[in-house]
Symmetry: C2
Subunit: 109 residues, 2 copies
Amino acid sequence: MNKDDAWQILEACRRRIDELDLRILELLNERTRVVEEIGRAKRVLDLPIYEPRREDEVYANVTSHNGGPLPADAVKRVFERIIDEMRTVQKLRMQEPLKESKGQGGVER
Amino acid sequence: MNKDDAWQILEACRRRIDELDLRILELLNERTRVVEEIGRAKRVLDLPIYEPRREDEVYANVTSHNGGPLPADAVKRVFERIIDEMRTVQKLRMQEPLKESKGQGGVER
């Protein structure tokens, strides 16, 4: 790889990163909508937000399916952050007054 | 939403989360492969791994495109974790002996 090639590769890779990030962002927001729906269901069922056994299942799902190159411990830390942020969203959702859900992500978005 | 509905919604939402997580995982690994390629290009160009201006661009890309419901500050924290983990991968990559890259993610995977 000469320097001209390296500059071109660098630029192309950065554009690719920006595209991938927007796809990740879209999935994070879709995941958040599902978590909001879970918050509504849990409120009806009077279940706690934090369910350690379910969180272990979530980590097991991603680490057991991880083919790399991102190492398993790094995958776990990224998902810890994702779960932590979404737990905060779920808490806010559960503090809101109960109203009829129209299902599928609700009326509030 | 009655309790039976709520249980069904909860179960369906959890299956959906598991599917979404595997798609996020796939994109994270694809992003890691691109970051590895960036590491190789930077080594040829003798550029540092940490480039704060480029990282600001990455955050600006995701926060400016965020339609929610995940709040912008939560999006930023998730991407801080992603970038931090991938910087570690990039560092390891740059410590390896130089060899010919076959491009597109390299030969080492």
